[in-house]
Symmetry: D2
Subunit: 344 residues, 4 copies
């Protein structure tokens, strides 16, 4: 069985495992104040051209989202997200558990627009009795989104402007950021995120690390005392240097970028194979996740050799499925998948 289910099915990229082995007996202080973490933080700041940013190395995506949002909001404030946003649907109410409502706007492709943010805020702040409703204070987006789609630079610039207009923070969930940076037609660099966001995180778990995400915080109000809130939510790893070593490896020699290029290249080959056969797609994804709409018979046929994810029913005869590639996907396995697609 060849697996295309997700981008976290294996352990870590071999370079990361080597480095963890090489450093295993070093003695370091705990909780992220060792030299590996210092070095990794410097590399992260360079990577996104944000020399004044605060960087926190964290264990996972949900901890990033809930800790950042808890740090950013006063009790009556909420985070504005697409109705399909990860914080809105797939974190078991993690944001609400910190006391905050996730305010949602409709989205068909996982993205939200500056116009939606502007309209939401205009409505809220125009109300005479606005204190009876939750105040929007932070915009949450993902780059790429859970649907594999990607914001263009002008869209981010417009979101930034809408946030500035209404005094909102802009926060980007970059769980799969490498795959957006390598996406077809991408015009958003890591430096753009460094310049446009109040905070964002650079995902490692889905990009070759055992685990780990690098939270980048630009806004001083979010920087203040962040480590307390990290500790409070259980996010301060005792052996913090494990995160430092991993991000050193990912960022020192371009591995983070290379992984994205590798995985996206393979994903687009899969996409093209489906397209050539005339299949259409639920989302126009230029990244490592592809969402073809397939007849149930084709799905059954492919399942004989390959594992992939059922996404949602499309109609009586067909469904949306997801194929994922990653740092670990082999070109020859993609060849086999493409042959199978051609034979459908």
């Amino acid at each position: 069985m060849l697996r295309f289910e997700c981008d976290y099915a294996e352990g870590a990229h071999p370079q990361i495992m080597e480095r963890l082995m090489a450093t295993n007996f070093e003695q370091t202080p705990g909780y992220g104040v060792d030299t590996h973490c210092e070095h990794a933080r410097a590399l992260v700041r360079d990577f996104c051209a944000a020399p004044d940013a605060q960087v926190h190395l964290m264990v996972g995506g949900t901890p990033c989202n809930l800790t950042l949002i808890a740090a950013a909001l006063r009790p009556h404030q909420g985070a504005l997200a697409a109705q399909t946003g990860h914080i809105a649907v797939h974190e078991s109410g993690a944001i609400e558990a910190t006391g905050h409502k996730v305010l949602t706007v409709p989205s068909d492709d996982g993205k939200i627009t500056a116009a939606q943010v502007d309209a939401y805020c205009a409505d809220h702040f125009a109300q005479g009795n606005r204190e009876h409703t939750v105040q929007p204070k932070l915009v949450y987006i993902s780059q790429p989104t859970e649907n594999g789609t990607v914001y263009k630079k002008d869209e981010l610039v417009a979101l930034r402007a809408a946030c500035d207009k209404w005094g909102l923070f802009l926060y980007v969930d970059g769980a799969r950021l490498s795959y957006a940076l390598a996406s077809e037609g991408n015009d958003v660099t890591a430096a753009d995120l460094g310049a446009l966001c109040d905070a964002f995180y650079i995902g490692g778990t889905k990009v070759g690390a055992l685990f780990g995400e690098a939270m980048v915080i630009n806004h001083p109000a979010l920087q203040e005392d962040f480590r307390y809130i990290l500790k409070q939510h259980g996010g301060m790893l005792a052996k913090g240097r494990l995160l430092g070593v991993q991000f050193e490896t990912l960022l020192e020699n371009g591995l983070y970028t290379d992984i994205g290029v590798h995985a996206v290249g393979l994903a687009l080959r899969i996409r093209d194979a489906f397209a050539v056969k005339g299949y259409t797609f639920r989302y126009a994804s230029p990244t490592n996740q592809q969402f073809p709409i397939l007849p149930y018979a084709a799905i059954e046929k492919l399942k004989e050799q390959f594992s992939f994810e059922f996404w949602e029913k499309y109609d009586e005869t067909s469904a949306v499925v997801r194929f994922c590639t990653s740092w670990a996907t082999k070109s020859e396995d993609v060849d086999k998948l493409i042959t199978a697609i051609e034979n459908l």
Copy 2:
């Protein structure tokens, strides 16, 4: 500089690193439902002779405490702990962040007694207006405590009885459990914890793992839906198998036990060297942490060669310091420390 500061200064025990390397390219489902996790959970249940227990493999100690306590309590209930308990002082208000008060009782050695629990509950439930105060519902203890001290079996049995009398859960933080099991004079087995506790966790981070703790839940009310609450607090690791592999390694062939024996043996040699020189101790610790009271001059002298932790001022001329051993401590380094102690 030889380090005796803490028990989490290095990476992981070599057997664990080997196993992570050996399994690195296996493809597994995420979130802890893979075969390594299944196997590890079975080993944990065997280890504490609790065949009906639910086992959750988690990333760290604070996440264990806050998630279990959040799962256990209704809004008006609190956790009863020693005033020195980790949840009372060193988790940045993690329990309060889930809405619950940590109720404290005095303790000089890190332990609390069944009589204290009984008296606290008797006071609370005797009040006419008891609904104006927080209701005790869970007893939190550590084995060993943060002060290196250890509960004896009769003390645990008495705590269990007090909890049963008043309808409280008994929860044990076992961050350093291996060192209690190997402690001088210990009469509490893992099976005793399995029989006496509603929940407890077997600490891996401080016992040779890169990270990881095994939460054992006996009480059905705490078992129900625990995975939701784990996810909600950001504690569900995407590559859950990393935890499975580590606990397989720790428990399959007695490594978890061996590490405790190794570290405690070395710690008691350090203890004895201080005692022979006439120094006394802040706590009577039979475990891997030792807390001698030393003159400032002796401290300065030892600091030339060794790192260890300043614990607290004792009086004008002396202070309490902490020496820790671990799986990674070398016998020859302990020899050097003992020589230095003898030369004080």
Copy 3:
């Protein structure tokens, strides 16, 4: 200016003020354990034919909703409501502030159906990874809804069945319950609520009291320790007897029922006057709130003499407005309004 804006524009019904005056110098214990509260609780139990119910006299509607829901849910559970439900939009995130997500389903008239509850739960519990999403555990409805609409008995019976099927609590917000009981075509009695709901509250604030709501709790799990949670959320009034005296007055001789009959009768006269002139309504309300769709010119004309609430824009030329009646609305003022409608 004659006011039809809301049903809480005046103080209290004269009978209530008289009783408060008459009892003002009585000395009673605080916090709701006095004889007036005891008597009021007995009257409430009689009113809804629920002899085993627990009754708590509370200050307002938002406190009722947040306290009951906080008492009912474990951390990972949410309350299912119409997207227009009061807890979903008009309580400033009060439910989220207790840690819980409000899960919403679409509704055009403020009501939700048993089929919606069933489908939502079927979806949730069918998911393999359901612990990544919030678990529905309580259904929140209002009788009447914020849109003036009313559940029929068969709809409530079906909701009860759906809740039983999936293990959910059924909770009814009865802020304006009197107006539902008196509504045109109503077939749901207070006793029906007593039989079908796990909890509901009988609203006083909008039905002639200075303030106050009577929370009726049938389900033993919600009854347990409710007073602690009431106190914790600041809902335990020191001079609790004020609530007791008010509910004694409302329930002793049918005043609560009479107020509903009075207000609904007047509201339906207003409704009919609009209908006769050919206006249509945003919601089919048989209660004390009416939502005609009026041309802007008609709105401007009516505003010269009457105050009423702008509800929402309908189209370029017309808007939805709300007219409310209450215990304090005078028949002669309604006559004047009807004359003005006829003259539009």
Copy 4:
């Protein structure tokens, strides 16, 4: 039975009841934006000489404390209080339910000192790993305290200085403020509170109102969006004007002051009667609460005619009891009590 148990045993001062009757049929907008509330807020600002203060009229003391503290603190911050402080022991964990720890310091008389605040903060901010502990950010005191004791002006000035030194808010719970203002030897005016505190509340419930407290907020950071947080915690009364009318009555013609003078005068007569008989007191209270230490026989004797509160056991033969006076206490009843004391 003559009652000296508490200061909230009756309804409201007759002037308040009259005013509520007189205004009962006025139609006003809801939620505290009516002219009575506006007027009351102006009177409050005058009363404490704080023309720029924001004033919010609230229902009770626990709502005041939890709402203000929730508004003031970020997630990792706590409120520093005496271990006997109301928020520390008698609010069922209301502060913790908003996510914050109550940090306590020892106190024998209910007061805390500037030196304690300074030492606590010096310890906290000196720690290298301070993010592992809760950060003190607000000092909570009561004037008078629950023990009837009163801060002198120099003590408040010193607390203000300590708060300024460490960046803490100073918040005063004035549930019984009138009785402090009228206390024997008092040198703290309402204007002093207006000048020295970041926020405080002027208690009405225990000073002649049916219910109600006036929250005065000086610090701009606490003022911002306070009404949202008020609504979120269920504290926004629909018929807000009830609070406005009551505070108008209390403050317009000195009634608030007169009530304090009346009650304290009577309490000191009771105190002196006990003192003359040679009894001592648990606390040196110059206010409306008196805490004599009485032999059990004397307690039994007095209980035949009078009700008062058992406070705590003192020793095998005697106990501390509490006698309270209020706006409603009659001079002739105090005469009877004094006679009984003399006859002990």
